[in-house]
Subunit: 245 residues, 2 copies
């Protein structure tokens, strides 16, 4: 069997997320599998490094699929980009080791959450940012974000439906970039619970707006009480930027 | 009469350009005039610094309108952004001198043309760039672009339907920025003929792809022959970035 590794970039606005769902549900995995099935003449499973939720974008999603037929990577990349919708792009296709598995072997992920923080809307970033009109106090947000770094039980920042073996995750860093009206929050870790990044960001925004104190965040984390953390920030602001193996 | 100056940013993708047209034609000027008419209870003309064509974007379009009623700038900005479609944003509203006229007093304009120059498409920039798959030789394009700088008769780079008093324009600079898969061309001048920036860029792309020599560009300019210049580059790559007064 030949194993191929894809890097995929997508505007998640009109998809119900990465993962294939039932008939008639538009997902990124589904779109790629359909085009590959046309090319290979048989159905194939494309394994992603992880799900992205409905409306979440990706710059560097990584996926793999297996094929009995040996394929030319350049030709396949061109084929996929020709037949995929224009909000999904295959950035690269490479031959992978036979045992490579995009989900099992993913060691770390970097998510980027982008906030448009001006009073007026931004027509060009309206689908790729959360619009927060009131000026955020980023110094307070940075202070609060320190609580997330390190190995913690993130139960308080998971979706209630999260059903992982363990709720412990290691967050390597939370970085802020400011400028040109944007506040960007980059979170890197060994993995994330369902809705974890968005709930972390939703909490940081509460802090940035003065509705919560930075000192409350470590307390909320320790409480394991998801009722105390902030809301799940909108999907459109979130991008899976990079997956490390 | 009170005179108000607006800075307007828009994603031109779904508009037939800036300038108001007949009934049922979606234009940026038309959208703004409709919302202002609602607010003021009477129709009003919004004067833009210049037309942008169908599909062309703007970051810093400047416009003005007159009102008998004295208006609160902050309140008006909020009102406009609330009722305008989300692909048009009013960045600022200021009181202007009574004689200020956005078109007559515009002294210079900066246009930005963005090219996505990677083999794979870019889902996030697909509406805001021209996709050129083959690698552009930017050094050749820079060499060719020197011909445009200065005061010239730009007949060879105008749309055939251009009907200006004079075809002479002064181009102050043509600047290139490269990186992250993008080639950006910034053109600043005292004014531009219809389609002039897009025809200049279309010609530079021919040079960048090796289909035309840099040395031909000054000859084409001198020839005043629009048959010899390159094609009009697609509207979606063009953004009116700034207007100087």
């Amino acid at each position: 069997m030949h194993n191929y590794r894809l890097q995929v970039s997508y505007d998640g606005s009109r998809y119900k997320g990465w993962q294939r769902l039932g008939q008639g549900e538009s997902t990124v995995q589904g779109k790629i599998e359909n085009v590959l099935a046309e090319r290979l003449g048989k159905s194939v499973e494309v394994v992603g490094s992880g799900r992205t939720d409905a409306g979440v974008h990706a710059l560097g999603q990584v996926a793999n699929f297996k094929s009995e037929e040996s394929l030319d990577c350049g030709e396949l990349k061109t084929y996929l980009n020709r037949y995929l919708p224009d909000d999904i792009a295959v950035v690269s296709v490479e031959k992978a080791e036979e045992e490579f598995h995009a989900r099992f072997h993913a060691k770390e992920k970097t998510y980027l959450y982008r906030i448009w923080n001006e009073e007026h809307p931004n027509p060009f970033l309206r689908k790729y940012t959360l619009h927060v009109e009131k000026k955020l106090d980023v110094a307070r947000m940075k202070k609060a974000a320190k609580a997330f770094v390190g190995e913690h039980d993130f139960t308080a920042f998971a979706n209630a439906r999260s059903k992982s073996r363990t709720m412990v995750r290691n967050v390597y860093h939370v970085e802020f970039t400011e400028g040109k009206g944007l506040v960007e929050i980059r979170v890197r870790g060994d993995g994330f619970l369902h809705n974890m990044v968005r709930k972390m960001v939703g909490t940081l925004i509460e802090v940035g707006l003065g509705r919560m104190e930075p000192e409350e965040v470590p307390e909320i984390l320790a409480s394991l009480d998801r009722e105390r953390s902030g809301p799940i920030a909108e999907a459109c602001g979130l991008t899976l930027e990079k997956v490390g193996f």
